[in-house]
């Protein structure tokens, strides 16, 4: 059912698909499938670690974006 005029809710199919993709990126599947879980290293730390941190940051950033831009209910209700 369509939402009432002006109401915005953070959940959407696109958002949840993006979150699911970022969760999969957090878990170092890419390195198990295509690279090495120990190499390459940067500053002594394996590359998969940086990708996991970046994906975790991505989850927080897209969540904040949804909260700020796509969550407005209380002010729109009578």
């Amino acid at each position: 059912m369509p939402r009432k005029s002006g109401i915005k809710e953070p959940g959407s199919l696109g958002f949840w698909l993006l979150v699911a993709s970022l969760v999969l990126l957090c878990v170092p599947y890419l390195f198990v499938l295509f690279l090495d879980v120990s190499e390459p290293r940067f500053f002594g730390i394996p590359a998969w670690f940086y990708l996991s941190v970046a994906a975790a940051l991505g989850i927080s950033v897209v969540s904040v974006q949804r909260i700020v831009k796509h969550w407005d209910i209380e002010n729109k209700l009578p």
Binding site: M1, R3, P28, V32, G44, W48, A55
Partner: protein
């Protein structure tokens, strides 16, 4: 565990000062009471602003488990424990699926407990009782762990002058007083103090412990030499999935269903306050998650060889090594640890008290009880549950993390009925009841038969999938709600958010 830390009587004085402050906060909170209504005692009149809401969310989420369980996970698993960051931030992301609507509904229909929503949405007393009992049973062992941790912290702070049981009893009495006297305001104001303390304590402990291990470079080079497996991720897809992807999914859903977390959504003064506290909560894991990882790695470099539940003791062992050089820091960190435990325990106790009062006492025993009686029963339950927790707290041979997993695997069974009830008007009470019972039964059976993890996923996740399937299939097989029920759902739920309802 921390009993090897050697501290003097001045540490006991600092502990006393901290505990006196929490008591004073409880009594000041009492003077701010607006009314004798249960909503005021249990949820502060639903007027909590963004800053206090953030502190109470943070302090409640990070318990003694963060110091012992999380550092133990970092110790056992190494660098892959960086996934503790998404593990925690995904809780808020998951709550975005239901918090916006649930917050509005809680204001309109004056919800006090999580089961209030289920009972109202599905017009079912049975569902209220099932949700209440499942929640209390899931959370009780968690309280036992917190009680056990307070005992160890007090033994450490008193250098053994106070025995384990006296620590548990003493802290339980302090908590009982400030919860009973101050109610919600007493709990969240102490949460603010405790949240600041635990954050500073965790940061300070991390810097000191990493320094002790020779800095980050020293930790990495030592691990590379003695335990290189801690610097690599599991090298096969099955282990990554069963160990980590499954964990992320179960944690995101299970932690999001914490009853105290749902009550914090109800308690927000307005939507703006809730949004601000959510935003702040999304970034806290980057600080505290990194700290637990660094402490765990440093522990593995300095003190290798601990296994199973023993590895949860690594934080205490590291503190003991720090005592000589950083005496006051260790005292401060132990107070921060106590603050982390007390903030979580007091929030859980108050929440369980509200659940017992509203969902069990008022529903089954005294439907006509007045506000004064309900508030009195709530206070009495606080005392009763603390006594039960003290009596039941014993040393566990299971890791703290495993006990946490068991709890969230049961709590996640409440998610399908919550989310489907918010967005799907066709679902009725029986599919929701069967789903929760079926999911919980599957999870319990698998755990009891030694299949806590089977193939790729944890038992709770299989239960969750069965639960979801029951809800959907049973709803499609049953008749749609009758006209009267549809009108009720339109008026009280869907008509608030959507047109053409």
């Amino acid at each position: 565990m921390t009993s090897t830390v050697q501290l003097g009587p001045e540490a006991l004085f600092v502990l006393g000062l901290y505990l006196a402050t929490t008591l004073a906060i409880g009594f000041v909170a009492r003077t701010r009471r607006q009314s004798g209504a249960p909503e005021d005692y249990f949820l502060g009149g639903k007027a909590t602003g963004a800053l206090l809401l953030f502190f109470t969310m943070q302090a409640t989420q990070y318990s003694g488990n963060a110091f012992f369980g999380f550092t133990g996970m970092g110790y056992r698993n190494g660098l892959i424990w960086i996934l503790s960051i998404p593990l925690i931030s995904l809780i808020i992301t998951t709550q975005l699926s239901f918090a916006p609507r649930l917050y509005i509904l809680s204001k309109r229909h004056n919800y006090l407990t999580p089961a209030d929503y289920y009972a109202h949405r599905y017009d079912s007393v049975a569902l209220r009782l099932i949700v209440a009992v499942l929640t209390i049973l899931s959370m009780f062992p968690y309280l036992m762990i917190q009680a056990e941790a307070t005992g160890h912290a007090v033994v450490a702070l008193s250098s053994g002058a106070l025995p384990f049981w006296s620590g548990v009893v003493f802290i339980a009495i302090i908590m009982g007083v400030y919860i009973s006297v101050g109610g919600w305001r007493g709990v969240i104001w102490t949460d603010a103090l405790q949240g600041v303390l635990l954050t500073i304590a965790m940061l300070a402990a991390t810097f000191a412990i990493v320094g002790l291990a020779g800095g980050l470079d020293g930790v990495l080079s030592t691990l590379d030499r003695i335990q290189p497996s801690l610097l690599a991720a599991p090298a096969d897809i099955e282990r990554l999935t069963s160990g980590w992807l499954s964990l992320l999914i179960v944690s995101a859903i299970g932690f999001a269903m914490y009853p105290q977390a749902i009550q914090r959504i109800y308690a927000a003064a307005n939507e703006r306050a809730l949004k601000k506290s959510f935003i702040a909560m999304l970034f806290v894991p980057f600080i505290l998650g990194a700290c637990t990882l660094l402490i765990g790695l440093s522990g593995a470099a300095l003190n290798p060889g601990l296994e199973g539940a023993q590895s949860d003791q690594i934080f205490g062992l590291l503190l003991a090594r720090l005592t000589a050089e950083y005496y006051w820091l260790v005292v401060f960190v132990l107070c921060g640890l106590l603050a982390a435990i007390m903030s979580t325990a007091s929030s859980v106790v108050l929440t369980l008290s509200s659940i017992f009062t509203r969902d069990i006492y008022q529903t089954t025993m005294r439907p006509r009880a007045n506000n004064r009686e309900l508030a009195m029963v709530g206070r009495l339950f606080v005392v009763v549950i603390l006594v039960l927790v003290v009596l039941a707290s014993t040393s566990s041979t299971t890791t703290l993390w495993r006990l946490t997993e068991i709890k969230i695997e049961f709590l996640m069974q409440l998610f399908p009925a919550l989310i489907l009830g918010l967005y799907w008007r066709r679902i009725t009470r029986w599919p929701a009841v069967w789903g929760i019972l079926g999911g919980s039964l599957v999870a319990a059976t698998m755990m009891l038969t030694g299949h806590a993890r089977w193939w790729l996923f944890q038992a709770g996740l299989y239960g969750f999938l069965v639960n979801l399937a029951i809800c959907v299939v049973a709803t499609w097989c049953m008749r749609a709600p009758d006209t009267k029920e549809q009108q009720r759902l339109r008026r009280d739920f869907f008509g608030i958010f959507t047109v053409n309802e």
